[in-house]
Amino acid sequence: MAGLLCFALLMALAGKANADASGSTLMKVALVSGTGPVAVIYPDIGEPYFTVFAQLIGGIEDKIKMRIVKYAVGQNEDIADLKTTLHRQNIKVVIALGRQGMKTAASLDRDFGVVIGGVITSPENNLHELPVNSLSPDPALLFSHLRELMPAARRVFTVYDPHQNAWLMRLAKQAAISQRLELVAYEAQDLRSAVLAYQKILAASDRNQDALWLPQDSTTVEDSSVLPLVLHESWSRNLAVFSSSLGHVRRGVLFSLYPDNAALGRHLGETAQEFLASGDYGEHGMVLMREVLMAINLRTATHLGLDASPQQGFDMVFPEQ
């Protein structure tokens, strides 16, 4: 509250200074920059991912309804400079997007609120203080879509690197139970053990009631050896495979949930607003993504004998022809 009053006073003083300077007695509406107390820092990145951040920011602005200060940060960002600017703008909360945004926010040692979003990372220990909005879709949503497509599903297999995804698997196990599924999760700390784990799963799977889940895991879900193995074997064994990565659906995985950038942006904006209002973030620590869209591979669905058609309103359908 004190901060807000200070901010208003500052604006009034600045406005007066500005009006005096320009010789006009009218107070200009857009003063210093006419912005609210929210700043967004995002990675200085090119296409195709630039549009992702543009859409996230669009969602944030949509929710916050005030102009927000935006900073693109590169690898060698001048943090001191950024801090000064943030102070000058009287920023109260920073929404840090992407790894670069998050890294930069880490160096901001003032009492800014920090909302992190658009990141894949997974910490060893859960963050208790800050909300880290992961791009990892909530397993509960993945499992519920699986049940819709494949009502006979009973067991979900997965392979994960505990350093990256132990936190996720704890949450996933609970989510599975609530969906009347059993999650069988194999740990693998390197690629070799991951491949062995997949081979075990593929050999033991029952096509009628099992499914395989590929989480966002750079150790165990690897493009050139794991993915071809999983795709080919699951095709010939008619095993349903679903993924937390959109790119896999084009290659033949049955379905995936991917970020609805605008909705995710609005959620980040909402978290920032909550912090401004109450000093509390609400949900904090690793926050699973619930603002999702669904991509399905109809060719794979047909091959598996599942009932799926474009009319069911999937957000993205593969193959494109």
Binding site: F50, Q55, V114, Q164, L246, T302, Q311
Partner: protein, 702 residues
């Protein structure tokens, strides 16, 4: 700073530090790729809802990104890159002819159906995209879908050798406002503005483009004028024109409204309306179109419903000098030259509806019906000459008719109009079922019946069998029948040298085709198509049995052909993509048992897209057209092969609000020829392709 805040900050730092330290992926892009996929999937993910296409035959999709990479500024340039298609030029009005799989040889190009957002754009006079089509810009195009092969089971008439669907941008395709300016060879210049946004619950896209060009000036070394005593050859073609294009697209709930405007004015007549150079003739065409559609993919359990209505108004008119002053005919000399000023006005109104039902397990049914009213309601015939209509030696011969016209352009609509007006009504019905009859096997069967008020009915089926053989390989077997309805000129034209025949029936084509799609590697995709077609009742102008009574259009031709198309895309690295295709075909005119002529037997296209520096993209295209034979009756040597190379460089406009691009077409100024019609007496030395051209373009986004 008090203790609690300090502890708070330390906790944050520690937490963030631990998050950062354990971030496993190498880079920001790699991390994001885990959620969004690579550049192809992320652009779909951020690009708004995908549009599902009707199950196509052999479809090529060219996106706006492809168009920018190719440096294509006209539809013709895009069509040349499609496997199995070669773009040739027709003598009159500089119209392009899309030769698909060897099907060509007509004086216009009516065997290809052109759609814009699913609405037919073909005009009624010749059944083609318009005698004064002139050009089609691409700034407002979101993507182009091309079906090679028959499509009448879905689209009805003219979906004979292929279907082209231009899909214009919606609000999601152009967020915000974008300005562009382009200038280049032949004093070509245009400027445009595009906008996409939301007005409350309505998504809006708008586009306006204004431009002009002096036109390319290929030299025609010998023309028809020399046969009549006065020629302007050697002389340049006349391809200049002014252009205005506009479009408006609104989406509200399940409704979508498209409106479009296309004006081409002050346009030159190409090589001349009768193959004699005409530097003074000017023509104009104007097209206004609007369509409203409603679609509910989930109208009820298992039901999808939709309907649409469209209206198109088109008119073309010209004042041309068919032959220059001094031209001598057996009946005398026209001191002003032979002048003609035709004009045609038409309205096309269409309504249609469809329902799709997926309640029967393993089946997906679709039923549709529609009614079209195609009315060519006004014809203008200005001339300063007469064409003999008395049987005998003067039949079909141009005479000065000075007593009637005094050598000036006068109204001949009572004495000898060039076309009668006509209102054609079509009713049609189609049905399609896609059924999964075994694991990995799907059969799509469709049929459409069209009933034309002027020539009766035609029924066209199609069958497609699809086998998902493995994860990486899909095989298809396709059979389709299509028709080309006789054009208004072929039925109602009044021209002693090529008279209309109201008793014509449609041309028909049957095609059998096998198609294979193979994902050879993660980064390499290969498509192979092998086809065979049979055409019959081809409409040609045939001399009447009684000498001295001219020629009339008859269903008389038969042609068959076969060939294959091979295409591949290879992502050689994250910054290099290579695309290539090769097509071969052989077509035989059954009346003469000789090569049907004109279209290339072999066609090779290669393109490399290279992100050579951060923020810069370059694209190089190589196109080689090979082995074009002459049809029977044309004794000229075969048309020589030619190769053109194009290069385009542009900035990557993601972060910057500015985008600059530059392009060179036919970089090495290669000489190439497109064949003139047999027997080659009027334009004996064929039509030269355009030499080297350049353009520079700047775009700015607000």
């Amino acid at each position: 700073m008090n203790i609690s805040i300090a502890r708070y900050i330390v906790a944050i730092l520690a937490a963030i530090g631990s998050v950062v330290a354990l971030a496993a992926p190498e880079s920001e892009e790699e991390a994001l790729a885990l959620a969004y996929g690579d550049k192809d999937t992320v652009s779909i993910a951020t690009g708004g809802k995908q549009t599902l296409r009707l199950a196509p035959s052999v479809a090529s999709v060219i996106t706006a990104e492809d168009i920018a990479a190719m440096g294509a500024t006209d539809l013709d340039q895009v069509m040349e890159t499609v496997p199995g298609v070669h773009v040739s030029k027709l003598v009159t009005h500089n119209i392009s002819s899309y030769q698909i799989r060897g099907i060509t040889g007509n004086a216009s190009n009516p065997q290809v159906l052109l759609l814009q957002n699913g609405i037919p754009m073909n005009t009624l006079y010749r059944g083609d995209k318009g005698e004064e089509w002139i050009s089609q810009g691409l700034e407002n195009v979101a993507r182009i879908e091309i079906i090679r092969g028959p499509g009448s089971a879905l689209y009805g008439a003219d979906a004979f050798s292929g279907v082209i669907n231009l899909i214009t941008r919606k609000a999601a395709d152009t967020p915000g406002t974008e300005f562009g300016v382009r200038g280049g060879s032949f004093n070509s210049r245009n400027a445009w503005v595009q906008h996409g946004g939301q007005w409350g619950a309505v998504d809006v896209a708008a586009y306006l483009n204004v431009g002009a060009t002096d036109g390319s000036k290929q030299i025609i070394s010998a023309d028809a004028g020399r046969l009549h005593g006065a020629t302007l050859a050697p002389g340049p073609e006349n391809n200049g024109f002014d252009a205005v294009d506009g479009s408006f697209n609104l989406g509200y709930g399940k409704y979508r409204l498209n409106a479009g405007y296309k004006l081409r004015d002050n346009a030159g007549t190409g090589v001349g309306p009768a193959s004699a150079l005409d530097p003074v003739g000017k023509e104009k065409s104007e097209r206004i179109s609007a369509d409203l559609s409603w679609k509910d993919p989930q109208f009820a359990q298992n039901w999808e419903l939709g309907y649409s209505g469209s209206y198109l108004h088109y008119h073309e008119e010209s004042i041309m000098r068919i032959y220059p002053p001094g031209t001598t005919f057996t009946t005398g000399v026209l001191p002003n030259g032979v002048l003609s000023g035709p004009g045609r006005w038409e309205d096309q109104a269409r309504v249609s509806g469809y329902a799709a039902y997926s309640g029967f397990s393993g089946h997906h049914l679709r039923l549709g019906l529609g009614h079209d009213n195609l009315n060519l309601y006004k014809v203008r015939t200005l001339r300063n000459y007469y064409i003999g209509t008395t049987p005998g030696p003067q039949f079909g011969v141009i005479s000065p008719d000075l007593a009637f016209n005094g050598g000036q352009l006068v109204d001949y609509s009572v004495r000898l109009p060039h076309l009668t007006t006509h209102d054609r009504k079509i009713d049609y019905l189609y049905a399609q079922d896609e059924l999964k009859f075994a694991s990995d096997w799907r059969l799509t069967a469709g049929v459409r019946h069209d009933n034309y008020s002027d020539f009766g009915g035609t029924t066209n089926p199609r069958l497609t069998l699809v086998w998902d053989a493995t994860l990486d390989l899909t095989a298809k077997l396709l059979y389709g029948q299509a028709f080309r309805e006789p054009s208004y000129n072929e039925m109602y034209g009044i021209n002693p040298n090529s008279n209309g025949n109201p008793n014509l029936i449609p041309e028909t084509i049957k095609t059998l085709e096998a198609a294979f799609t193979w994902q050879a590697r993660t980064d390499t995709r290969v498509n192979l198509n092998v086809f065979r077609y049979d055409m019959k009742d081809v409409i040609r102008s045939v001399q009447n049995a009684v000498p001295g009574t001219g020629s009339v259009f008859q269903n008389t031709g038969k042609q068959h052909g076969s060939g294959l198309e091979l295409e591949t895309t290879w992502d050689a690295s994250s910054s290099v993509r290579l695309t290539g295709n090769y097509a071969c075909q052989e077509s035989v005119d059954e009346a003469t048992q000789q090569d049907a002529g004109y279209a290339p037997h072999h066609h090779l296209y290669l393109r490399g897209d290279w992100r050579f520096a951060s923020g810069w993209l370059s694209s190089t295209q190589i196109n080689r057209v090979m082995e074009r034979m002459r049809p029977a009756g044309d004794t000229r040597p075969a048309v020589p092969d030619y190769t053109t190379v194009d290069m385009t460089v542009r900035t990557d406009h993601s972060k910057s609000r500015w985008e600059v691009s530059a392009s060179v077409h036919n970089l090495f100024n290669a000489t190439g020829l497109e064949p003139s019609l047999a027997p080659g007496t009027v334009i004996p030395n064929d039509l030269p392709v355009v030499g080297r051209t350049v353009w520079l373009q700047v775009m700015h986004r607000l």
